[in-house]
């Protein structure tokens, strides 16, 4: 099949960028979108041109590196998928495909489709952990955790930190990302001691990184490759209020 790509090219953070058109010919419907970019890059490299820069790594939907908007949707036109898991059979021969980076004030563009998502790391650094030093942990079975609790925590913990939620949100809010980690640890007994402090600090960091607020539109959850649910944002709000109560830790 043949496609026409329109790809955002931008040389560096402080430079202006533009959409550049590339013909992508002789493609297989079994190729992933990233393999299509590989294919275009091969030609660019062979011609001595600069390849399109994009983050990618595991190519099986778990590392969270992919960070592009395909035809207006973060990751692209397939539910519960990262870009690396979207195959060209989702497009029609002759289609035009528009590829842009995730866009948000908190995600400055580094080059082409590569953005700086270190703000998400700093939200985790602000409190997305249990302060358990290595060594001396009690036996894993000393603390029984009901299966439904463990499963709920796992639902939230499945977040891959890609930032599609931010890219999809009209406010560029990182509420779903933050909610996933806060909720995982607030659901489990291990997270209890730092529960309030964690919510307060992670939310403060989120604001400091210039992520926007949440207006409950749900675009984040709709594009989330791991289908992290909106209910976790409700939980984050509850955790936030709870943390302001006098007795909360």
């Amino acid at each position: 099949m043949h496609l026409t790509l329109h790809v955002w090219r931008q040389n560096g953070p402080d430079q202006s960028g533009q959409m550049v058109t590339y013909p992508a010919r002789n493609l297989s419907p079994d190729m992933s979108v990233l393999e299509m970019l590989d294919h275009v890059n091969e030609q660019l490299i062979a011609d001595g041109d600069e390849p399109i820069a994009f983050d990618h790594d595991c190519r099986e939907g778990i590392c969270g590196s992919c960070s592009m908007v395909v035809n207006g949707l973060p990751h692209g036109p397939q539910k519960a998928s990262t870009t690396c898991q979207i195959f060209l059979r989702n497009f029609r021969d002759g289609d035009d495909i528009y590829i842009e980076p995730f866009r948000a004030t908190a995600f400055p563009i580094m080059k082409d489709l590569m953005v700086d998502r270190s703000a998400l790391d700093r939200i985790i650094q602000a409190g997305g952990y249990v302060s358990a030093n290595t060594g001396g942990a009690p036996d894993g079975n000393a603390l029984p955790i009901p299966q439904h609790t463990a499963e709920a925590a796992m639902d939230a913990a499945a977040c891959i930190g890609c930032g599609a939620c931010v890219a999809a949100c009209k406010n560029a809010s990182a509420m779903l990302f933050t909610a996933a980690k806060v909720s995982q640890l607030a659901t489990l007994p291990q997270g209890e001691a730092e529960r309030g402090e964690r919510a307060r600090r992670m939310i403060a960091q989120m604001d400091q990184e210039m992520f926007g607020g949440c207006t409950n539109q749900g675009a984040c959850s709709a594009v989330c490759p791991k289908e992290i649910g909106l209910e976790w944002i409700a939980k984050l709000n509850r955790e936030h209020i709870r943390s302001k109560l006098p007795q909360a830790t």
Partner: protein, 640 residues
């Protein structure tokens, strides 16, 4: 006179007391002095992140390097199945001894008893530690931790988080690391690739890195260097490894004097989604658990192109069940992979490329119903149909083996220190625990054992015994190494070639999978050893100059990594050729039983082969560490 001295430094005493004795005898660094020590950790996967966090908690200053944009993206994240521990929660007869014994046996008696025993001992602490961090392991209804049997083990000792165990364990280690980054005890360096090791007065004292965004070449000094840089399956180009996984950090250390041990021990995983064509950029693993219910077959006739459902039972060859009646479809990974290759080599492979075999659930669906099969494997079936656009409930899956894990790596002693003082190597990057084959769910265990519970002690012992100073990265050794690093990059910029790194990498990969993959022979390996230097020469002649150095440039990164893979591939083939026996995943066609099973030669090869670099154009020098199996009795694997 060679510089390589292999002393495994295994503590005296009975096997089960060695680690306790080591801990009792080791020297400690005082809290005041820990603050003055600086440790470089390269890589932030399970091993690197857990080591960096644990060292920082102890009070060391840690510099953590990753070429990703965040420590959380390391390829440990993709591990699916689980992590072993000898908890015996199921009361099914498991013990430290049994986990140790299974690991030694699984490695076909080519690993060190003392290291493996220690691994089994600390395995239980890992589970406790991860639970304390909030890793959401699967639980029983009563709240107890759930276990499953994995990879043919006779006990249920595998802990798991759905099919995302690696992700959850890595996020646990990453959260501990993040906490230390916030305190300033760890300084993280993201999008930085290690390109060389700096040795000062015979000790590893720092690294040279390239900033992948600005191109800056920079030196970093420390009291010790820890490599946690993963495996080298991408030497085959197509593997289950992430695209960026490479051998460069380990290989540059090798070129600075660290010995490479057993590089030919590579694991080819039997159940992966087959390549769909020449555009394939990597392969995707399907959990081995599928073999519990799926039946593997190919047509009896060569070139039978009928769709699966048109081939009657009498014309199907369920080759694993036929050859291994008692283990059948659950035959070990290496046997299963090799058998798949054999039937495809005979022209009986299925799918568009002819490199595939069926994994058929029709009988299991008849027996248990589609709903049960959906409950067991629903997410895997979804993943498969997502990738291939085929429905495994109605059409048999197609699978083919793919390189997945590398047991070989830099040689380390009991302290996890290489033969270069001050250079420690942990996780998949070292060679120490898995022998000639790794058991399922043991990679996560080893990465975290090294990082949480072994290195933080052994590194302290080294630092306590070593004269410390406040070295800065501006001495002659650092400048010299920087100059050499820059020259290495420049070497690719001057030509006027036309071929891309991907095209060369693909060719190298095809050559390696054929000559040094599932089945090896002296003839094939000698051919590869002739061809690789020629291909490397063509690579230097014909490569397209990768262009800009002061910006993000994936072409430049790939060329540099591929140059190391070329040289590394030769060491691998030397190792495979020299090891004139079959063992574990290393199958030499000359050494098989009448039934086509691997035939070990314990008389001559119950040892570790460690290779010393002697120059790009001269063969590496072999050093032997004999393996003294004092506790385990050598036995022949029998999966009939």
């Amino acid at each position: 006179m060679s510089n390589v001295q292999l002393d495994a430094k295994i503590p005296d005493g009975p096997l089960e007391k060695k680690w306790d004795r080591y801990q009792a005898d080791m020297k400690l660094v005082s809290p005041k002095n820990k603050r003055k020590c600086r440790v470089i950790v390269v890589g932030t996967g399970l091993a690197g992140a857990s080591a960096a966090a644990s060292l920082a908690e102890q009070g060391y200053h840690v510099e953590a390097f990753t070429f990703h944009d965040s420590p959380r993206r390391a390829h440990s994240i993709a591990a699916q199945g689980g992590i072993n521990a000898a908890k015996n929660y199921q009361n099914d007869g498991d013990s430290v001894w049994r986990l140790f014994h299974d690991t030694i046996k699984g490695g076909d008696f080519r690993s060190r008893e003392a290291n493996v025993y220690r691994l089994a001992q600390v395995s239980n602490h890992i589970i406790d530690q991860c639970v304390a961090q909030g890793v959401p392991f699967a639980r029983e209804y009563g709240g107890q931790l759930a276990n499953r049997s994995f990879g043919g083990a006779q006990v249920s000792r595998t802990f798991y988080c759905r099919g995302q165990t690696g992700q959850q364990l890595l996020l646990g280690a990453y959260s501990s690391l993040s906490r230390q980054i916030a305190t300033g005890q760890v300084r993280q360096h993201t999008r930085m690739e290690m390109l060389d090791l700096v040795i000062v007065d015979g000790r590893a004292r720092g690294i040279v890195t390239r900033n992948l965004v600005t191109g800056e070449i920079k030196s970093h000094a420390a009291d010790a260097v820890v490599l946690a840089t993963g495996g080298y399956s991408n030497v085959y180009y197509l593997s289950t490894n992430a695209k960026a996984c490479n051998v460069t950090a380990a290989f540059r250390a090798y070129k600075r004097g660290a010995a490479l041990a057993n590089p030919c021990f590579t694991q080819i995983h039997p159940t992966c989604v087959p390549a769909s064509g020449d555009h394939q950029s990597k392969l995707t693993l399907m959990s081995e658990s599928l073999r519990n219910d799926g039946r593997i077959w190919v047509p009896k006739k060569q070139g039978d192109k009928r769709p699966a459902h048109e081939i009657p039972a009498a014309e199907r060859d369920y080759y694993l069940e036929r050859k291994y009646p008692s283990f059948g479809n659950l035959a070990p990974r290496d046997i299963s992979s090799r058998s798949a290759k054999e039937v495809c080599d005979e022209g009986r492979g299925v799918g568009p490329t002819g490199r595939g075999v069926y994994l058929d659930f029709a009988d299991a669906i008849d027996q248990f119903g589609q709903e049960t099969i959906r409950q067991r494997y629903g997410n895997l079936f979804d993943m498969y149909s997502h990738i291939t656009a085929e429905d495994p409930y109605t059409t048999p899956m197609r699978i083919y083996p793919a390189p997945h894990y590398t047991m070989g790596g830099l040689w380390v002693d009991y302290n996890l220190m290489s033969n270069v003082p001050g250079l420690f190597v942990i996780g998949e990057a070292n060679f120490s625990d898995h022998g000639a084959n790794r058991l399922g769910a043991s990679a996560l265990m080893q990465g975290l054992a090294d990082g949480y519970f072994i290195l933080p002690y052994t590194l302290g012992d080294y630092l306590a015994r070593t004269q410390r100073d406040q070295l800065t990265p501006d001495g002659a050794e650092f400048k010299q190494t920087e100059t050499e690093t820059k020259a290495h990059i420049q070497r690719f910029q001057t030509g006027s070639g036309k071929r891309t790194a991907t095209s060369f990498h693909r060719e190298l990969g095809e050559l390696m999978i054929e000559a040094c993959g599932m089945s090896r022979s002296a003839e094939g390996l000698q051919g590869a050893l002739e061809r690789i230097p020629q291909l490397r020469e063509e690579f230097y002649q014909d490569i397209v100059p990768p262009g800009k150095e002061d910006n993000v440039n994936s072409a430049l990164e790939h060329v540099g990594r591929l140059a190391d893979f070329f040289e590394f591939a030769e060491v691998m083939c030397h190792d495979a050729l020299t090891r004139d026996e079959s063992c574990g995943a290393h199958f030499r066609a000359e050494h098989q039983t009448e039934q086509g099973e691997a035939k070990r030669n314990d008389q001559d090869y119950c040892n570790v082969s460690a290779w010393e670099h002697t120059g790009v154009d001269s063969p590496p020098q072999l050093h032997i560490e004999p393996l003294k199996l004092e506790t385990v009795k050598l036995a022949v694997r029998n999966y009939k």
